[in-house]
């Protein structure tokens, strides 16, 4: 018994943390159904804030931005790490391979503040490398960071810059598990590299692809707060404002605690349904899940 008590003691610090930063704030989400008061008890107001939310044009715009940006970063981006892993797999030179891997994984470890700084500098209309490269082929400069038509592509490109290499690791690991004998027999039949990729590699990678896609869909409502928060500015806010940046602005800057919590509860509930749904789907397809 004394021994079991010791195990509980080991668990206590984690439980305290979970309570303070997770459980109590989760319970605090009831704020969405109340009017917040700094002193005294908050008043119950039912679905008032949700009604306001769904009749607010700014919220509907934010929802639309979230869905568009997520689609770009999850669906459009999806084939790129696969292609990257396949290409890396064809490299014969170990040195080149190591160099490419070491450089491509690096941005994953940089903060979005740093990445945003790098991109703002690189995309600068006057001194940035991107526009100087355009100049070399005779194209006029573009102010990407303040252009409504370009900024979502900047988000997509910088996300790719950060994650292309890192997200390819799971596919590289899957490629290693493919039996070499499959390739040897294909070789005997005189198959070229492209045919081997289409008839052996891609079908063998399919379960990994499905798992990655399904699990990423679980985060569809997030769209990447840190990236958008560090790349948005007044010129483009109408096309890049997403749920999380909206919750921050309305809640912490405008101090509309209840209204903002209603927005995050809405996001959390959809997210929960997506995570549970996609997780069940992943379990069905691959036979194993995260829990």
């Amino acid at each position: 018994m004394r021994q079991e008590g010791f195990l509980i003691v080991l668990l206590v610090p984690a439980l305290v943390y979970f309570s303070v930063y997770h459980l109590v704030p989760m319970a605090g989400m009831v704020l969405a159904f109340q009017d917040f008061r700094i002193v005294g008890h908050s008043q119950w107001v039912g679905l008032k804030h949700f009604k306001l939310l769904f009749s607010s044009p700014s919220f509907l715009g934010v929802l639309k931005n979230t869905l568009i940006i997520s689609s770009m970063k999850i669906i459009l981006f999806f084939p790129l790490p696969i292609a990257f892993a396949l290409m890396l797999n064809e490299l014969r030179s170990v040195l080149v391979r190591k160099f490419v891997q070491a450089t491509a994984y690096l941005p994953h470890f940089l903060s979005w503040v740093v990445i945003s700084g790098v991109w703002i500098s690189f995309l600068s209309p006057s001194t940035g490398g991107a526009n100087q490269a355009r100049g070399l082929v005779g194209l006029p400069p573009v102010d990407y960071m303040t252009s409504k038509s370009a900024i979502r592509w900047v988000l997509f490109a910088s996300e790719t810059w950060r994650s292309l290499g890192w997200d390819s690791i799971i596919y590289l690991a899957a490629l290693m598990r493919i039996s070499p004998s499959l390739y040897e027999s294909a070789d005997m039949d005189g198959a070229g590299p492209l045919q081997k990729a289409v008839y052996i590699t891609i079908p063998e990678l399919a379960p990994t692809m499905i798992t990655v896609l399904i699990l990423n869909l679980g985060f569809f409502m997030s769209a990447g707060f840190d990236q958008v928060f560090n790349m948005m500015n007044d010129s483009v806010i109408s096309v890049v404002d997403i749920l999380d940046t909206y919750v921050y602005r309305i809640g912490l800057l405008n101090m509309q605690y209840s209204f903002s919590t209603a927005a995050s509860l809405f996001k959390g509930l959809i997210g929960l349904v997506l995570i549970l749904g996609t997780h069940t789907a992943a379990k069905k397809v691959t036979g194993k899940g995260l829990w």
């Binding site: 930063y21 459980l23 989400m29 070491a102 500098s121 290499g165 070229g192 560090n230």
Partner: protein, 303 residues
């Protein structure tokens, strides 16, 4: 990947062309990652008089000068922010490792009372995201506002890392633990003398990830800290580079103690700030490559 190399058949010209194209594309990807970073390094180290010659695609400095870094080092707010970030990173990572490994050990013991309940709790925490405002109000209520501890303790346990460590502990052979039990070892001895030493590679990997997380953190710092003296470097960087607020960093008199100051270039100074903010990550990056990618490649992906 060496196993995939096919020997014997000489490759045709078409094959060689195919592979050369692929190598070219991959090296181009590397260049796209590296050129913007090297460009900032070049900008930060160039002679202020020649900084205008550095184009957006240059990767080598024009002339050489450390003036930008000396200006930053002379700025008390900047130096303070580095110390704050180091404090948050070191203390935060130590707490992360202690709390996560204790919890992972307890949760993997079959006779932990209420084990099923605690596991359910872990899953609930993994899938349910508390809102920003309720978290903010709790931190405010327990008196951690404007305290570095509010930033340090945020993400004390990353649930995904907890599960990785639990899987690691589960793989320790039961016979090893039984043998220790026969010798009279309690849970404390088993945890400290058997589990932790065996888990060293896993702990090193998680420590690196937790460390990078803390070093890169800026958002919680921005909402919980009001005193600029407590800001970590990433937050100063955000104000200076992302929000273009030059006054807060450069407004002090420190700048004018340098004769070159009049010729200082803001772009170059920003570049230097970005480089300093990346530096610790670059220093531990070889270790990350060694531990993490090796682990993934040899033992399959654990996520």
């Amino acid at each position: 990947m060496a196993g995939l190399k096919i020997k014997g058949k000489p490759s045709s010209t078409r094959d060689r062309l195919f592979r050369a194209t692929i190598a070219l594309i991959l090296v181009a990807v590397s260049a796209v990652v590296l050129v913007p970073l090297l460009n900032l390094l070049a900008l930060s180290l160039s002679d202020p008089a020649r900084v205008g010659e550095v184009t957006g695609l240059s990767i080598l400095p024009k002339g050489f000068s450390t003036v930008n870094y000396r200006v930053l080092a002379a700025n008390p707010l900047f130096v303070r922010s580095i110390l704050n970030a180091l404090f948050i990173t070191v203390v935060g990572t130590a707490i992360n490792l202690v709390v996560t490994s204790m919890a992972a050990f307890a949760l993997t013991r079959a006779n932990l009372p209420g084990r099923r309940f605690f596991m359910l709790l872990v899953i609930v925490i993994m899938v349910l995201e508390p809102g920003l405002i309720p978290e903010y109000l709790v931190v405010k209520k327990i008196g951690l506002m404007n305290s570095l501890w509010a930033v340090i303790l945020y993400k004390t346990v990353n649930v995904y890392y907890l599960i990785i460590l639990m899987r690691f502990f589960e793989e320790v052979p039961q016979s090893l633990i039984e043998a220790a039990r026969v010798d009279g070892a309690g849970y404390g001895t088993i945890f400290l003398k058997i589990m932790l030493p065996l888990a060293k590679p896993a702990l090193a990997t998680l420590g690196l990830f937790y460390g990078v997380f803390h070093w890169n953190e800026y958002f919680r710092a921005s909402i919980y800290l009001s005193d600029p003296d407590k800001y970590p470097l990433q937050l100063i960087l955000r104000q200076f580079v992302v929000l273009d607020d030059t006054a807060s960093l450069i407004g002090s008199g420190a700048l004018f103690s340098y004769e070159e100051a009049a010729r200082l270039d803001y772009g170059a100074l920003k570049a230097s700030t970005i480089i300093v903010a990346m530096l610790p990550v670059l220093i531990v990056y070889p270790l990350i490559l060694k531990y993490y990618t090796k682990g993934v490649m040899e033992g399959g992906v654990k996520e």
